[in-house]
């Protein structure tokens, strides 16, 4: 059985994995770059080892350094989190060679699902619906034009090795076909060293719905229902919820069965996610499989009541799944928002820097997974996500109200964050009513842009408070120099004077 796990990651996900290790009585080991010496995952772990300089490609992405650290501390297993090496088949293989358990699927599963075209072929074979399109990589323009005419416009051209929106082109009209394909090919070559592209029917205004699966090494595979992830900005998820507001029990059952079939097709054994695109009539198509834990896994944990990291570790320990499909049900409604260090009122400009002050939202139905603390300087080298706020309530309506309340109470100063933007999402009618697709953000600009609606009174209160702070600092300096005491009258609250005279 696994007794010590090295977590090859940083930030909130490293801590989230270590929490489960601690509950299971497993020692946790942090690895850190030089920029992360004071990061919370180093502080939370039982052990910690430096694996190189700040840039990820000199630390968190260097397989040799991570393997070295794992051997030095005699870790039985490595958990890769998400991002970094989590979907690197070479890393999974290397772990196996070194006799270290990789907590994730086999390199075969990662490789098969990592290449879009191979994945598509597997899914066709497994009877999982895929978006109409090419089943082989295309390099010649003429062939591409022929295929596009068969499928019918609009289509999406995608890099075969791609991800994250790179090497993608949407083609609406015939005249765009040739330049579109060429642009996608050259981007794909630059980004992934491979100019193969493939072509898919473009689903207009789609929903992005994914299914969580868990599979063990004994042939058991279950799904943990769906997550609705259609609120996206530049292909990055911003808000996720479960259940999906547009789902029906019948479609859920069918999609769940297809998700299980997809996982089985690659002999999957760990936690994984099958992403589908879904049109307004609930026609759904396999998009890709993420062969790792997802950022948004907590909403599933909350509604289904399963600790996904614990299940990953149990599967890595060769244990059979402890849940059967019929044991699981969706209980209530959960929503997650991602808090980024960025300025939503200034084109989402990244905002690294020093966190002055945090007030975390607490109370009934609120989960907060973060890693920053007061006085912590958010480094500029990594992903700007600083925390995730997850709420649960018996109904969707109440969950939205609870998220508003939690965002109201959540204060981080010193850096700009996306909290105000997320509050506006929670107040946008289309979101409140559950009528939205992946065009939500572009379709709802009037609700999502900052408003200059402050009253005279609130502006005056803001100005007065700043002024009082300024004056009190001047007075306190004067007082210190005159009598050596730094006690300021301005802070002398709670004294015996009656405060309610006014």
């Amino acid at each position: 059985m696994i007794k010590k796990i090295l977590v090859a990651n940083r930030g909130e996900i490293a801590i989230r994995v270590m929490r489960t290790c601690r509950e299971m009585g497993i020692k946790s080991v942090a690895v850190y770059s030089e920029a992360d010496r004071s990061s919370m995952h180093v502080r939370y772990a039982d052990e910690a080892y430096c694996i190189g300089p700040a840039p990820s490609n000199e630390s968190y992405l260097v397989i040799d350094n991570i393997i070295d650290a794992a051997k030095r501390c005699h870790a039985d297993a490595i958990h890769p989190g998400y991002g970094f090496l989590s979907e690197n088949a070479g890393f999974a293989d290397r772990c196996e060679q070194e006799g270290i358990i990789f907590i994730g699927p086999s390199s075969h599963a990662i490789n098969t699902m990592g290449d879009k075209i191979t994945a598509r072929q597997k899914m066709l074979g497994a009877g999982v619906p895929v978006v109409p399109g090419t089943s082989e990589p295309i390099q010649e323009i003429d062939k591409a034009i022929k295929v596009i005419k068969e499928i019918g416009l609009p289509v999406m051209v995608k890099a075969s090795a791609g991800g994250g929106g790179k090497g993608m082109r949407l083609i609406h009209e015939e005249s765009e076909i040739e330049p579109g394909i060429k642009a996608a090919q050259s981007e794909a070559l630059a980004a992934f060293g491979n100019d193969a592209v493939y072509i898919e029917k473009y689903i207009n205004s789609p929903h992005h719905i994914e299914f969580q699966v868990l599979a063990d090494k004994h042939g058991n595979c279950i799904h943990l229902f769906e997550r609705e992830c259609s609120v996206q900005r530049r292909h990055q998820k911003v808000v996720e919820e479960t259940p999906s507001p547009i789902m029906t029990p019948e479609v859920r059952k069918e999609m769940g069965a297809h998700a299980v079939a997809a996982a089985r097709a690659v002999n999957y054994a760990s936690a994984g996610t099958i992403e589908f695109i879904v049109d307004d009539n609930l026609n759904y198509y396999f998009l890709e499989m993420n062969t790792r834990l997802q950022v948004e896994h907590p909403i599933t944990e909350r509604v289904v009541g399963v600790d996904l990291v614990k299940e990953q570790i149990n599967i890595a320990n060769n244990l059979p799944l402890r849940y059967k499909q019929e044991d699981l049900k969706q209980n209530g409604h959960a929503i997650e928002v991602r808090i980024y260090a960025e300025d939503p009122d200034n084109n989402f400009m990244p905002s690294p820097g020093k966190v002055m002050h945090i007030t975390e939202p607490l109370g009934l139905g609120v989960r907060h997974d973060g890693y920053v603390y007061e006085g912590y300087t958010i480094p500029m080298f990594y992903d700007p996500m600083i925390s995730k706020l997850i709420v649960w309530a018996p109904t969707r309506k109440e969950a939205v109200e609870r998220m508003k309340r939690a965002l109201y109470a959540y204060k981080i100063t010193g850096i700009k964050t996306s909290i105000p933007f997320l509050s506006r999402v929670m107040n946008t009618p289309a979101f409140v009513e559950g009528r939205y697709n992946t065009h939500f953000i572009q379709d709802n600009q009037q609700y999502l842009e900052p408003k200059d609606d402050a009253s005279q009174k609130i502006r005056d209160v803001a100005a007065i408070t700043a002024f009082v702070d300024y004056i009190s600092k001047i007075e306190s300096k004067t007082r210190v120099s005159s009598n050596g005491s730094s006690v300021s009258n301005w802070k002398a609250f709670g004294r015996k004077k009656s405060l309610n005279r006014l």
């Binding site: 260090a341 960025e342 300025d343 009122d345 200034n346 400009m349 990244p350 905002s351 690294p352 820097g353 002055m356 002050h357 500029m380 080298f381 990594y382 992903d383 700007p384 109201y408 204060k411 100063t413 010193g414 105000p420 509050s423 402050a454 005279q456 009174k457 609130i458 502006r459 005056d460 209160v461 803001a462 100005a463 007065i464 408070t465 700043a466 002024f467 009082v468 702070d469 300024y470 004056i471 009190s472 009258n489 301005w490 802070k491 002398a492 609250f493 004294r495 004077k497 405060l499 005279r501 006014l502």
Partner: protein
């Protein structure tokens, strides 16, 4: 004690008329307020006004500049004393448009697209800076000539650090 305060584009006089412990009477412009103001955490004030409770967070930007966060809004506030008034009058006289390029946040210089002495057109990208896996392009606001490039590609930079100076 002749202070003015600027919030958004409004500049008005401000004066503390009276104080007793945490209770204050303040005049701003032609409005008078009686408030109960307490600093509850470093930089965080609890303000009661006519029974309403406000949590106000102050982030000092410079000596006399604050970013002030209220529940739903964020304001930039400048305190203007005699010194500040003098500085402002000088500044507005000598340069009225962008003469340096800098970034609001720390990051790393990815690409520099200009050389010293080069003429650039309005809207032309001058420098590309990366932070948190995102690249941002910084462009010239007007037609200009580059006087000095203060950084090189690969440099780590601080927020508000001058990167490129125009003539």
């Amino acid at each position: 004690m002749a202070y003015e305060i600027r919030i958004k584009d409004n500049q008005e006089t401000i004066e503390i008329l009276n104080k007793k412990g945490s209770l204050l009477e303040v005049a701003i412009g032609d409005r008078n307020y009686k408030l109960d103001i307490v600093e509850v955490e470093k930089g965080v004030y609890s303000v009661l006004l006519d029974g309403d409770s406000f949590n106000i967070e102050l982030i000092p930007v410079e000596n006399k500049k604050y970013t002030v966060n209220t529940l739903y809004h964020s304001f930039d506030v400048d305190i203007i004393d005699a010194e500040a008034r003098y500085m402002m009058s000088r500044k507005s006289a000598e340069d009225d448009d962008q003469s340096t390029i800098s970034t609001p946040m720390p990051g790393k210089v990815v690409r520099i697209l200009v050389e010293e002495g080069q003429k650039v057109k309005a809207g032309e990208t001058v420098i590309v800076v990366s932070a948190m896996k995102m690249e941002s392009e910084y462009k010239a606001a007007n037609d200009k000539t580059v006087k000095q490039v203060l950084v090189k590609e690969g440099d780590n930079i601080d927020g508000n650090q001058p990167l490129v100076i125009f003539e």
